[in-house]
Chain length 191, copies 2
C-alpha cells in the first residue's frame, strides 16, 4: 500500500491527534496509508540529544519512508504557509516524491499582503513593493512561486484552493480530500 506523509500545521492544535486520525481514515478510504508526524513516539530516554532534534529526525525519517506527501499550505501566523510544512514540500520534491497540497484560504498572495501591509506600486518596474522596498509577487499564486510551482511540477496539479468557513480554517478537510482524489488518479495512471 502506498504511504502518504501528512504535512501541516495541525500538529500544533490541541486536538492534533484526533485530526490526524480523521486524515488517516480518509487516506484508507482512498487506498493509502497515512503517516502523521505525531505517530512518531519520541522517547528521549537516556539520550542526551535534544527533544526537538529527535522530532526533526523522526519526521525526516517518516518523509523518506513515505511514497508521497499531501501538504496543508493554509496561511499560518501570517501571510504564508507554515514554514515547517514548506520545508517538507521542499524535502519531498528534493527526494523525488510527488507532492499534493491544499489551502483553506483561496485568495492570492498579493491580495492577502495588501490586507495587512501598506504596498506602493513602482511605476517604473511595474511591481508592488512593501515597506522594505521588496517586490511582492503578482502571479496570482497562493504563495511564493517556488511553493506553487513545486507542487504543480512535482505533484502534477496546482495547489487545491478552498475557502473554509473561518471557524473551521484549521480543520476543514475538503481540500485534503480533493488531494487524495488527485493522488488516486495520478497513481492509477502511473501504475
Amino acid at each position: 500500500m502506498l504511504t502518504v506523509y501528512l504535512a501541516g500545521p495541525e500538529v500544533f492544535l490541541p486536538d492534533a491527534i484526533g485530526l490526524g486520525e480523521r486524515k488517516k481514515r480518509l487516506c484508507s478510504a482512498y487506498g493509502f496509508e497515512g503517516l502523521f508526524p505525531l505517530d512518531n513516539e519520541i522517547v528521549q530516554g537516556a539520550s542526551s540529544v535534544r527533544i526537538d532534534r529527535l522530532i526533526y529526525r523522526a519526521n525526516e525519517e517518516m518523509i523518506r519512508r513515505a511514497h508521497f506527501g499531501i501538504c496543508n499550505l493554509t496561511p499560518f501566523r501570517g501571510l504564508s504557509a507554515d514554514p515547517g510544512t514548506v520545508f517538507e514540500v521542499g524535502m519531498l520534491a528534493g527526494l523525488g516524491k510527488r507532492v499534493f497540497a491544499y489551502t483553506n484560504v483561496a485568495s492570492n498572495y498579493l491580495d492577502r499582503t495588501k490586507l495587512t501591509e501598506t504596498l506602493a506600486f513602482d511605476p517604473e518596474q511595474k511591481v508592488w513593493r512593501d515597506a522594505h522596498d521588496m517586490t511582492v509577487e503578482d502571479f496570482g499564486n497562493a504563495d511564493n512561486l517556488m511553493i506553487d510551482w513545486a507542487v504543480a511540477e512535482h505533484g502534477g496539479y496546482p495547489i487545491v484552493r478552498h475557502d473554509a468557513h473561518p471557524t473551521d480554517i484549521d480543520r476543514d478537510l475538503t481540500g485534503f480530500e480533493a488531494c487524495l482524489r488527485l493522488a488516486a488518479k495520478a497513481f492509477a495512471r502511473s501504475s
Copy 2:
C-alpha cells in the same frame, strides 16, 4: 570549484543584482563559485509556459547544479523566514546537499511571536498557545524546528544568528560570511 546556491529574499530588493554580486565576490574569496537566482536569464520567447513557472524551473535546475547552499533565513514579512528560501532549504536537504544558513535577527521564534501576537500559557500542557490555540514552539530555535535542525543535520552547524543594524537587515552579510567560513572548514575536512 565547488558551487554554492545563494538562497534568500534579497532577490526581491531593487538592488538585488548588486547584492548578488557582493555575495558572489565573497564566495570567490573563499574559493567557491556563487550561483545567484537572478543569474538565470528567463526568456519566455515563443513558449506558452508562464514566466513564474520558468523562474521556478531555472531555480530548481540551479539548486540541482550546486554542490551546497547558503540560505538567508532572516524573518521576512512576518515571524518566519522567506517561504521561498525555506522551500529551498528543504530541497537542498532532500537532494543530499549541505545547507548552511544565517539570519540577521538573532532572537528566538517564541520571543518574536510574543512581540506580535497575544499568547496564552496552557498550564496543563505547559506550552504557549496563539489565538488559534496552536502551540508556539519553545525550543530556543530561530524558526520552526524543522528548519533549524535541517540546517544543523544537513550542514553540520546551527543557523548563524547575528543582529544586523535595523537599517541593514536586508543587506548585512556578516552572517553570510560566517557561513562561508563554516563551508570552507567543512569541505576542507571532508576532502
